[in-house]
């Protein structure tokens, strides 16, 4: 049985700043009557009184940056959509959540689907669009049914449909199921998948803002990004900005997993100190001393315990030490973690998920996996470390989409920052995970 809808997966922590998740845990938080009682669907009414430019300005003021992984300033992205184009415009919401370590969008859909729908409506008004498509990964079938239920409720209550509440605003929301492909989280691959094709990335430009879904202007953002638009328009962009730090406004949902005492999804202000988060909200490292942290999903370069000291978790501070906030998936590793096994498991994933469209990624991930498999099996040599490093470096920036970089970056960080452990490994080969993922069938 699927976990009962509405039961919290982890207890909230008093040190959280719950701006997007404040309704999580309230009885029936996902039902429209409780949402309306909490002031729901009033923000869209406010937005309808504002001009498109005013809404975009407010989003710019908030300092909101894309929560899917790239961290692009949202207001700027919104300003790129040519609103005067005679073509229809589309809103596409990325709920393909597949970056290892990440499990937050599902909670936003489960506990507050109407907040997401309202965010999509505000975006719709700002872009002059009448249709939103929510692309949800196929594994989340229970969430697709759950969101469909919320959409039906919204139509029945007259907050979706034609001429909503007599305002003249028309808006429709549709769900679209994926079928198992990490690559479809990349925005142009997602659009190809939405059009019924294999999910392979497109050449850019043109960017989706200009020619996205069905070659029409398209605004594509993550679930958390659209959900954040509601508090931004409700309370003002300046208020949202004030939760975080100047260039990383607001809060974000961090999904902490691995060796911590209290794994879970927590909403924290951007700029929070990494160790304060790990030792406080996440309950401290489990099973030994801290060894390494993946800050934002497995594609992010790994950080050593030393690098995590006095590190504010905001986009620019994490970028400054050579990693990324990514999609908010923080994976904590204790001192007993085998970094060779970690490197192999990460590259197996990217090799499996490479769409095969461009050669540096398809061949690069395959050779990295082969090299790391041989190394892990005890058949490697010290020279292999340099070969792996060199190979990964040659993939950087040479692929159609970010998947190539996503495979290369963690690999480079692992073989450089834990080089001595890789060398030690040669002296005492251990039994590792021998069976293989068979790959694309």
């Amino acid at each position: 049985m699927t976990p009962t809808i509405g039961k919290l997966y982890n207890e909230p922590h008093p040190d959280e700043t719950r701006v997007l998740t404040w309704r999580f845990g309230k009885p029936n938080s996902w039902k429209i009557d409780t949402y309306l009682a909490d002031g729901g669907y009033q923000t869209i009414m406010k937005a309808l009184q504002m001009t498109q430019e005013q809404i975009i300005e407010e989003v710019k003021t908030s300092g909101l940056r894309g929560r899917g992984g790239a961290g692009f300033p949202t207001g700027l992205k919104w300003s790129f959509v040519p609103r005067s184009s005679p073509k229809p415009k589309y809103i596409v919401c990325n709920a393909d959540e597949s970056e290892p370590g990440t499990c937050k969008d599902r909670l936003l859909i489960e506990f507050d689907p109407h907040q997401l729908i309202e965010g999509l409506m505000i975006a719709g008004h700002a872009m002059g669009s009448q249709h939103a498509y929510v692309y949800i990964r196929g594994e989340y079938r229970f969430l697709i049914e759950h969101l469909n239920g919320a959409i039906d409720e919204a139509y029945a209550a007259g907050v979706l449909g034609e001429n909503i509440r007599g305002t003249g605003f028309t808006f429709h929301v549709h769900t679209h199921s994926g079928a198992g492909a990490y690559e479809c989280g990349e925005e142009t691959a997602l659009l190809d998948s939405l059009e019924g094709k294999r999910g392979v990335p497109r050449m850019k430009p043109p960017f989706p803002a200009v020619a996205g879904a069905w070659a029409c202007p398209t605004l594509l953002n993550n679930v958390e990004t659209f959900s954040a638009v509601v508090p931004i328009i409700r309370d003002g962009g300046a208020k949202f900005l004030s939760y975080g730090v100047p260039k990383s406004g607001g809060t974000r949902l961090l999904c902490v997993s691995g060796h911590v005492n209290k794994p879970g999804v927590y909403e924290v202000p951007l700029g929070m100190d990494t160790m304060t988060f790990i030792n406080g909200i996440a309950g401290g490292v489990k099973g030994g001393k801290l060894k390494a942290v993946v800050p934002g999903g497995s594609s992010c370069p790994i950080l050593t315990a030393d690098e995590c000291q006095n590190l504010p978790m905001d986009y620019d501070s994490v970028a400054k030490i050579g990693s990324m906030m990514g999609s908010g998936g923080m994976v904590v590793m204790n001192e007993h973690t085998d970094m060779v096994a970690v490197a192999l498991r990460i590259i197996k994933f990217y090799q499996h998920e490479s769409c095969g469209w461009c050669i540096p990624c398809r061949e690069g991930t395959t050779w990295l996996k082969k090299s790391l498999q041989r190394y892990a099996d005890g058949g490697g040599s010290e020279a292999d470390i340099d070969i792996i490093h060199e190979l990964a470096k040659n993939m950087l920036g040479r692929t159609f989409c970010a998947l190539g970089d996503a495979a290369a970056m963690p690999t480079i960080s692992l073989v450089t920052k834990f080089r001595s452990e890789f060398i030690e490994y040669l002296k005492k080969p251990r039994a590792v995970h021998q069976h293989e993922l068979v790959g694309i069938h």
């Binding site: 049985m1 599902r106 594994e139 492909a181 019924g196 997993s257 060796h259 990460i346």
Partner: protein
């Protein structure tokens, strides 16, 4: 080819959800929903989806090989998927997979001779903070221990005797 009334209704709504003339968009969702009823993506299903979406047979066939949840051969009645990606691996996902494989006597993408269970080692399913994660068909199980898994398999076996 016809499907259950509920699915027929879903398809009718789905074909209207996309812009006019863009019914190709329904190909992937249609395949995954229909597969639940047919048990696999058969040649007959490919042709049916092609007809309903107004695309060529090949335009349907080419996506089947791409998406890992679409499969041409039937799986077990209960398809057990165990994640071994890093968050799960760090807290025993790999051992859980191996335990399950031994218990069922089948490996990755194999099905029991009775057709009851099939097994797959899968990539991240988006439940990292509640790892290790197992899904059986579309149902999620969090923080799974080998004992919990044994109990789950046993309960399913009992219910199917």
């Amino acid at each position: 080819m016809t499907f259950s009334p509920a699915l027929e209704q879903r398809f009718e709504k789905m074909l209207k959800a996309y812009p006019e003339g863009k019914t190709r968009s329904a190909v992937v969702p249609m395949l995954i929903y229909a597969q639940d009823e047919t048990g696999a993506v058969t040649e007959e299903l490919i042709q049916e989806v092609a007809k309903r979406c107004g695309v060529s047979r090949l335009q349907v066939d080419e996506v089947v090989g791409y998406y890992s949840m679409l499969h041409r051969k039937p799986q077990g009645k209960y398809h057990v998927q165990i994640c071994t990606n890093i968050s799960c691996m760090l807290v025993g996902g790999t051992e859980l997979y191996e335990h399950c494989s031994k218990k069922l006597g089948i490996g990755h993408k194999q099905t029991e001779p009775t057709g009851l269970f099939s097994l797959e080692e899968v990539e991240c399913m988006g439940a990292c903070s509640w790892a290790p994660t197992v899904t059986v068909n579309y149902d999620y199980y969090h923080n799974v221990t080998p004992e919990m898994l044994d109990q789950l398999l046993e309960d399913i076996r009992k219910a199917n005797r």
